[in-house]
Amino acid sequence: MVEAATMDRAAVTARPGHNRPPVIEAINLKKHFPVKKGILRRTVGQVYAVDDITFSVGEGETLGLVGESGCGKSTVARTVLRLIEPTAGTIRLDGHDVTRLGKAELRPYRRQMQMIFQDPFSSLNPRMSAGDIVGEPLQVHGLASGKEKHEQVCEIFDQVGLRRSQMNAFPHEFSGGQRQRISIARALALNPKLIVADEPVSALDVSIQAQVINLMMDLQREKGLSYLFIAHDLAVVEHISHRIAVMYLGKIVEYADKRTLFTNPQHPYTEALLSAVPVPNPKLKRAKRLLQGDVPSPINPPSGCAFHTRCPYAEARCKVDTPKLVEISPGHGVSCLLRTN
């Protein structure tokens, strides 16, 4: 759930239709990367990769996070998992604040949140067999070893649709889709509550994408997993997500449940994204609102509304006033001066 910074937690969980307890909450999360120059490595600026975003993912729920490349989606994923340190904000896992935990204190929490990576070729160690890759998390956390580990790995292989006989094969012997299954199996090994999937299918063929997405949805039903699903392909996100948040230049500009977002988009950026989704029927004529230009640099984000440089409806005040994320109907938030007043 995406919230205006001012909203309190009670309001977040009390929303109708979304009464699932949150597994992960990110509150006012910021990640700024310093830009350093010269011999002395002076900081000459900041990249506002993630700039004050708030959301939560409920139990058994999938939150889709969409946006153009470079808008900070992957940084959100890595910050939530504490793979990179947040500049500011709070991350709560199952109600526990994990933002400032040290490495050793964080370890038990790592079991509850796992990640699936975009590139199925470099996210697996080429020198380890598939069985070792999947069994490694069990070993690291001292959950199982020897025969017990082997049996658990066998079970996970069955769950993700890999053959047990493939356990001794090395990653390079698998196809892209199978490799992504290994990646999913590795994430499942620790029986996590949350899986952060960073564009898990964008490197795969379309036919394989569907298989992997369906596998993820089946696993969610069986195990009650929560997903933070990052993608730039809206069709994929529509298929798997319950709710969707749209990011632009490090900020969330609109969020809603899937149906609302696709039928009644409010933010001009969401509108443009949706109109760019290909439709299978070529005779269907649609009004296309294609955006001009590129995403502005997150080092010097535009003043006022960051989207005003590309917005077809922009007015003078958009360059000056910064819009706030406001809930226009329950569960539907928009950050646009024109649509919220």
């Binding site: 890595r78 990576f117 160690n125 020198r127 070792d132 690291v140 956390h141």
Partner: protein, 297 residues
């Protein structure tokens, strides 16, 4: 777990490792040149181990009557000016070269890999200091460095090993560090972090094994160059002292004086050196191909 396991590597490459000879037969069929190199190295190791059974001559005993004897049935490769059998000296010289090469490469690679792995993975001040120091060392040519070291330590077998190991460290450390720097950013390292692995375990389990292929190529290349450096040091009188037979010194003793009158004194030790270095390089290339799973068809 990804340790350096040749058995697994071979199985993955499709070799029949059930029988002991299966792996060997596989290697010979897949890499005939490498097998040739292995044979040369095996010959050298055999000569080193069984020197007394290969030749009946003592490499140290002189015989004035046989001074500068031509190659003949009695002295297969002839004799030097002190009447010492050249074949015996080359066979015993293999022992010396092997000891120097194995010890200095092991020592140099161990230190170099440790520095490269620590510096590359951890970065920070340790990396900064070691890299500047290695750059200083590398500003001198390898051989000059070895000569300085050997001269400072004095000629003896352990000192020669130490001097050669010392000059190997910068190359190994820098290659490993560069490799580690790129491996560190790979998603599978990030995945290991997400699992909750400790940094040390990631470095040893995930990063180190992936530097294996370049390390083996490097170690074999270095193996060849240690033999050359040892020869050069001995040539200059800074290596293993008399009367131990060193291929390098055998060359140097005879090169100036006897190259015209008794060319066998120059040709055969020179051939021994080139032959062994050539064999090591062949073997090294084949090992690299075999140990890099991505190069398998």
């Amino acid at each position: 777990m990804s340790t350096i396991d040749f058995q697994t590597e071979l199985t993955a490459a499709g070799a029949n490792v059930k029988s002991r000879w299966g792996a060997v037969r596989f290697f010979v069929r897949r890499y005939p040149l490498g097998a040739g190199g292995a044979v040369i190295i095996a010959m050298m190791v055999f000569a080193a181990l069984f020197a007394p059974y290969i030749t009946m001559y003592d490499p140290l005993s002189t015989n004035a009557a046989a001074s500068l004897a031509r190659p003949s049935a009695a002295h297969w490769l002839g004799c030097d000016f002190m009447g010492r059998d050249l074949f015996a000296r080359i066979v015993y010289g293999a022992r010396l070269s092997l000891i120097v090469a194995v010890c200095s490469v092991t020592l140099g690679c161990t230190v170099g890999v440790s520095i490269g792995l620590l510096g590359g993975y951890l970065g920070g001040w340790f990396d900064l200091i070691t890299q500047r120091f290695l750059e200083m060392m590398q500003s001198l040519p390898l051989l000059v460095m070895a000569i300085v070291m050997a001269a400072a330590l004095g000629p003896s077998l352990p000192n020669t090993i130490l001097a050669i190991a010392f000059v190997l460290v910068p190359t190994v450390a820098r290659v490993i560090r560069a490799n580690v720097l790129s491996l560190r950013e790979r998603p599978f390292v990030e995945a290991a972090k997400a699992i909750g692995m400790s940094e040390r375990r990631i470095a040893i389990r995930h990063v180190l094994p992936n530097t294996l292929a370049p390390l083996i190529v490097l170690a074999t290349a270095q193996f060849g160059s240690t033999i050359l450096i040892e020869a050069a040091l001995s040539f200059l009188g800074l290596g293993v002292p008399e009367p131990h037979p060193s291929w390098g010194r055998m060359l140097s003793e005879s090169a100036a004086e006897y190259v015209r009158t008794a060319p066998w004194l120059v040709i055969f030790p020179g051939l021994a050196i080139s032959f062994v270095v050539f064999g090591i390089n062949l073997l090294g290339d084949a090992l690299r191909d075999m140990l890099d799973p991505r190069q398998r068809s």
